[in-house]
Symmetry: D2
Subunit: 318 residues, 4 copies
Amino acid sequence: MAAIAAADTLDTAYDGDAWSGRLDAAFSDLFERRVSAIWVPTGTAANCLALAVLCPPFGGVLCHEEAHVQTDEGGAPEFYTHGAKLMTVPGVGAKVTPDALKAKLGTLRNDVHQVQPHALTITNATEYGLVYTPEEVAALGALCRDRGIGFHMDGARFANAVASLGCSPADVTWRAGVDALSFGFTKNGGMSAEALVFFKPNLIDETKRRRKRAGHLLSKGRYLAAQILALLEGDLWLENGRAANAAARLMAEAAGTRCVHPVQANEIFIRVTAAEAASLRTQGFDFYDWGEGEARLVTAWNHSAEDVRPLAAAIAAL
Amino acid sequence: MAAIAAADTLDTAYDGDAWSGRLDAAFSDLFERRVSAIWVPTGTAANCLALAVLCPPFGGVLCHEEAHVQTDEGGAPEFYTHGAKLMTVPGVGAKVTPDALKAKLGTLRNDVHQVQPHALTITNATEYGLVYTPEEVAALGALCRDRGIGFHMDGARFANAVASLGCSPADVTWRAGVDALSFGFTKNGGMSAEALVFFKPNLIDETKRRRKRAGHLLSKGRYLAAQILALLEGDLWLENGRAANAAARLMAEAAGTRCVHPVQANEIFIRVTAAEAASLRTQGFDFYDWGEGEARLVTAWNHSAEDVRPLAAAIAAL
Amino acid sequence: MAAIAAADTLDTAYDGDAWSGRLDAAFSDLFERRVSAIWVPTGTAANCLALAVLCPPFGGVLCHEEAHVQTDEGGAPEFYTHGAKLMTVPGVGAKVTPDALKAKLGTLRNDVHQVQPHALTITNATEYGLVYTPEEVAALGALCRDRGIGFHMDGARFANAVASLGCSPADVTWRAGVDALSFGFTKNGGMSAEALVFFKPNLIDETKRRRKRAGHLLSKGRYLAAQILALLEGDLWLENGRAANAAARLMAEAAGTRCVHPVQANEIFIRVTAAEAASLRTQGFDFYDWGEGEARLVTAWNHSAEDVRPLAAAIAAL
Amino acid sequence: MAAIAAADTLDTAYDGDAWSGRLDAAFSDLFERRVSAIWVPTGTAANCLALAVLCPPFGGVLCHEEAHVQTDEGGAPEFYTHGAKLMTVPGVGAKVTPDALKAKLGTLRNDVHQVQPHALTITNATEYGLVYTPEEVAALGALCRDRGIGFHMDGARFANAVASLGCSPADVTWRAGVDALSFGFTKNGGMSAEALVFFKPNLIDETKRRRKRAGHLLSKGRYLAAQILALLEGDLWLENGRAANAAARLMAEAAGTRCVHPVQANEIFIRVTAAEAASLRTQGFDFYDWGEGEARLVTAWNHSAEDVRPLAAAIAAL
């Protein structure tokens, strides 16, 4: 908020302002190499711009069958790519494994009757809160390189993943073969700002044109850049990610064997009966139902142990 | 060929000629109600124009996971619909059942984050040569009507299906809730001509604009219309379908328990080892491999019992 | 800023929050009838969503040849509409007249070879700061109604137009036949928020799906809604528009015969030689060059007479 | 017809047949260099596939304001390119001049707000029957090369142009900088077959995928290839073009000063009053009205002098 207020001054419109101008350098520092980065207001825009740059309209985008781009973006990938086909891969915890990817690729004939894959997108941390290690990403990256497939990482929860891994952001991205990263800030303390980072900097010009064409070039972009810079400064983004993860671990310990998936980031999926869920709600707690007999809990960047302890205790007491 | 040669005369360009002008009436007669019909040169164009008319860009098209539109049209449905999402349903023999359809619909939340289905497309006869009965189609049609979903039938092998069923073409289409039919002629004796038939005639104007926009309004369309009319005349289309089916039945009897699917139209899928397949090829027979240990045999409209008997005997002798 | 800070609290994500939920009522009050309204972060998104709803992919959008959608939105209308064709009309001061519109319509054959117009979009105030009166809009609206053409108004400077006209917002929109309005707030004191208002409320469901699909459904939409509500309250939007217009009038008086267009809103186009422009810049003033020998000056919602007097004096002194 | 009948035999489907396989060599011979060529059933498909390969969705296609792609293809270029913007250039006789092209390019700012041109398409012979010389094409080609713009020639009447010029087909295409040519056969004696020829052969793979995706990969493509090969053989295409041109010249001489444009190919535009047009029709002649006071006459590949002499005489007698 302070960062936004500080940007409440006149500057060049769109992304010609001083804040936006500092993004490339800030992300290049963070990623230990020259990168290009732009702001967009939503993760959907970040993901879909990246896919549109990596995949032609007649191509396909490999993703997990429960990936956010496949299930929860209202057809945005198809819109931005002009009808590229999402080609889904199964896997536990919304994670794409090299074996599953190879199996999918093995089903495809290389003729004009079948859509050919041009990009792979994975989510780190995944939709179920699992984290890909640098080695796991690199194994997928190697497959992509061999097949000439672009590699995108949806990092809506990138901070949680990096905080969980304790590695350099570079290790789990470009060093592992990732070409483009949607670096999420909105879920991590920002108001409405995501960064789209290209490790192939020459792709940025086309991306900027596509951003404008999609109506995502805000005239007062300095407010977005300011949020991002504020979160990058002093590694605030990482600190926020750590806080959310810590709160999640505390919840996971309380939930014990109720946990459906290992808790590696800031999401906890637990088994609860309808009666148990109702009981928790009666006690004033709010959470998502996740199909029959499951609940989804998400901790936030500003959650302290004190904040989540009551719910943790209530779950333990079920 | 004779019909085409007869059309080798000057007439109004595009679809303003005498042949094209007779399509509506010819198909209305066949279907026992007023319909609108246009020619297109390929089945892909017929299918995808229909889907584009029935489904908006932000919508979804339900289909079998092995449907031709999903696996073998090179992303054409996504192109024509401007990125509608194919939503796939599993099922034996590439057949969509009401239960499978209901199960799929049950997984969808009706919010803006999830693509909503606007159309269902089924293939009759299916990609594995199975035939939907009027009752089966009607059960799907009822589900579509309840949900406000348009209903398209890919009839690349419509002649084979109707020949197999022995019903009126009307029974298995509009009387069962079908809104649009791709009526195949190319696989059934035509050179390059398919009809797109709308049982909601008011959809035809938009379809004609989309056909032109897709480059499918041939300037000498009379040649296509002439093929279609020649095949409709005296029910030649049905006779051809019957001939292909009869040849397939003869093959199926020879293949016996090797058959993977019931043979209801003009496709036979048989189990063969690599050695057996090689042996058949050595004897001069040509067919498609269908993954590991299977072969796909397709009989044609002009196959007589004599034509297929040698192969049938060779299979029986394996 | 205060409004944004006040929205810095937890609420339902996307547009399920309390602020977003008040938009329909707030705009219905303002427009003296039931309307549907949603927020989007940019004017490009507002304009292009409206056009996508009003015009199918195979249709055309009539607009002035110098309209912002035609010249300065990077192809966004073509993206959102899936390739609808912008059909341009000439006219003084970027204004579409009924005669020019009729002339354009008169050149079109109604066959499938020519794209047919499905929507008209005008900008009020125009790109040159001219204002359409209710009567002028109504004359265009009548033409649209006769031809079954949807009517959109790009109101990036709607506040300036209404402030200039002194009429009810209803008079210059739906009472004159307008179907959808992009109501601009960003140029009028907002941070990044525009409203898309539909006078045909049933169009809003499709619009919301298209908004999500375009990545414009911000997860913390309450910040956008809060800006809009703050500007609507006590007619602050109108007050801001009046202030900018008053500043522009003051400038126009100083510029006298240098003015290229009548100054009716908050834009002033003046004739200046290169030397004169340089002289103004030497004095510390900033403005846009507008081709050879012209400059474009825009006054802002927060400009007082004191703010612009120095530049006005400098222009008068040239 | 004989060629088509000769192709009435079984062969590999789509473009795997012997006829289709000979296209590259046949066109490489004709153009004196290695080229890639594919068949499509319509000129619209040929033009729009070429533009889609040369221009990204966010780019622009320069063309004459009366070009067929702009006025008479029902929005097909926008469909195939996913919304690229046609950027029109004025000029006499539908001809793009280097000066007009430079003037248009001069109006464009190179920023993300304005669509940037990625392709130029010209029609040879033009929509008014004018022919670009190799020098004229080369002047445009040089401009394209300087700006990194792809260059397409719509050769629906390419035979008439080459017949008129008496040059090598290479001189007026790739030697002059053309990257892709729509080589028309339908207007020149074919049934429904056009060739799309790429002088940058590496573009053909993407084109083949786009052709399939557009539903233009006919399953019995041998019939199209056979037509094209028959017309190429012994330069029949050129002979047909010469015949049509000769007939047009004869008409032009009869029309004298009534001619609106120089008659360089097979189209004649003449000034006629409504009474004169009616008189010609009464005498049994058929032609297109071309706005107020003009008529458009087109001679065909199979017109002999005897065929057109009666109409020529009737015009002379007006």
